[in-house]
């Protein structure tokens, strides 16, 4: 059985609980054991803005806690994944690691480069595998046309993810979507960033970026977007609603987290197991199209 330390990050367990709920459900369903570690703190990605050292120390602190338990880390947030993976890269430098460990020891910790970090989609792709996922499918989602959105930190910086995917022409999420039976739609702005990390600084920039992708998707006849990061989710879902209210523009494009899509295909209870009722944009039409005919 695969066993991982679950790294929830800050945003998922407070603002996008359906991501946590559906991730826990699919992992249990597929035999991935998740261990909760109470001592985990913020991954440090936003602290990098003010102090590179502070960001690195927070990341190293988390890595050390997982290493102490002898576990690799499973992340849900793409940005946490990037922050921790980049820290692992930087801490391969002995001088840097020694400096960090001198400080970690003061709070009783040490990091020796043993712990690795994997995003949940990567665990599904590499540990569970596309073939096994296909064999587990219980519901027919073949009528769904789905637009994937990868999240920048899922593939970049490329050096931190040892060949998981091609950042310019990514394929893993397309394959994970195909495995559920749904059809992954290719589109021009596939790699456009959600802008989430600029959101606290300039909402205008984020609105323009979100709008650009939504405009592109408007004529692709899709049933939903599928994302694999809660920050991307919030930008395309909650901020889409804000934009559409301003522009009086309809209809909204529903947004699912990948574990929600997979969970639906695996036969999970849409509300209790997968939190479909917590999504900002209604999923009723999407559910009806799959023939499930059940309102949330």
């Amino acid at each position: 059985m695969n066993r991982y330390a679950l790294f929830l990050g800050c945003t998922t367990p407070t603002q996008v609980i359906q991501y946590e709920l559906s991730s826990r459900w699919i992992c249990q369903h597929l035999g991935i054991e998740l261990v909760d570690i109470d001592d985990f703190v913020c991954c440090g990605i936003n602290q990098i803005n003010l102090s590179l050292e502070a960001g690195l120390l927070l990341a190293a602190m988390n890595l050390a806690y997982a290493e102490d338990k002898g576990l690799d880390i499973l992340t849900l947030c793409a940005a946490c994944t990037g922050a921790l993976a980049e820290a692992i890269e930087r801490l391969k430098d002995q001088e840097t690691r020694n400096g960090v460990n001198r400080k970690l020891r003061i709070i009783g910790l040490e990091y020796n480069g043993q712990t690795q970090v994997k995003h949940i989609s990567r665990v599904l792709y590499e540990d569970v595998g596309i073939d096994r996922i296909k064999r587990e499918i219980k519901r027919d989602l073949s009528k769904l046309r789905v637009a994937p959105h990868y999240g920048c930190h899922y593939t970049k910086p490329e050096s931190a993810f040892d060949g998981l995917d091609d950042p310019d022409n990514p394929k893993t999420l397309h394959q994970l979507i195909s495995a559920t039976g749904a059809f992954p739609v290719q589109y021009e702005t596939l790699n456009l960033c959600c802008g989430g990390k600029s959101f606290p600084i300039s909402k205008d920039i984020v609105f323009s970026l979100v709008q650009r992708k939504l405009d592109n998707l408007m004529n692709k006849k899709i049933d939903c977007m599928v994302v694999q990061c809660q920050t991307c989710y919030l930008m395309y879902s909650d901020q889409q609603k804000v934009i559409h209210e301003q522009l009086k523009k309809q209809p909204d494009i529903p947004v699912l987290l990948y574990p929600q899509l997979l969970g639906m295909a695996l036969g999970g209870d849409l509300k209790k197991d997968l939190g479909f009722d917590l999504n900002a944009i209604s999923l009723d039409r999407l559910i009806a199209k799959t023939g499930l005919n059940r309102k949330i």
């Binding site: 800050c10 945003t11 367990p13 407070t14 603002q15 609980i17 946590e20 709920l21 826990r24 909760d36 109470d38 001592d39 985990f40 703190v41 913020c42 990605i45 936003n46 602290q47 990098i48 803005n49 003010l50 102090s51 590179l52 050292e53 502070a54 120390l57 927070l58 602190m61 940005a79 990037g82 400080k103 970690l104 003061i106 709070i107 920048c152 930190h153 970049k156 910086p157 490329e158 950042p167 310019d168 790699n191 456009l192 960033c193 959600c194 802008g195 989430g196 990390k197 600029s198 606290p200 600084i201 300039s202 205008d204 920039i205 323009s208 970026l209 650009r212 939190g275």
Partner: protein
Amino acid sequence: MDQDNKLRKPVQVSKLDPKFRPEVLKHKSAGGLNACFACGTCTAGCPITEVFPEYSPKKLAKMVKLGMRRDVLSSRFIWYCTTCHTCEQHCPQNVEFFSILNVLKNMAAKQGYAPSPWIDQTQQVMRTGLIFPADEELVKKREFLSLPVLKSDGTKAKRLLKFTGIAEIKSPRKILE
């Protein structure tokens, strides 16, 4: 916001600071700056530039090279980056512009130009370990969904961050528009 068609003021050589570039280069992660040959591939692929054309990684790199210390460190632009890493992914010289930008932001923060959202988030991490607090409503919601209780203790993070000077960063200066 878009002033691309307006003629800009000439760069005043007497106001350039020749110490600025070496100071930036001193940081390991900004070491690639000298390899930049200003091709503009970074800017061509930047999502911020796509929606806000006045923002340009190439231009910021050039300003650092020229020694335009105050213009760079007090600029709003250095905080606009979405951290997508596309500039680094495409750079033919393997310049890590994202890392250079982080060095610039760190320098600006020390001089009092940090935007308040990043300061507030850091303070929150030192209080609870996470950037968002768990209020009563959330605690109930998680309990209803049978999700584990969220820990909220920033004591160790605070002790660790004390070494970095991040706790002392304040934002008294106004960032230039």
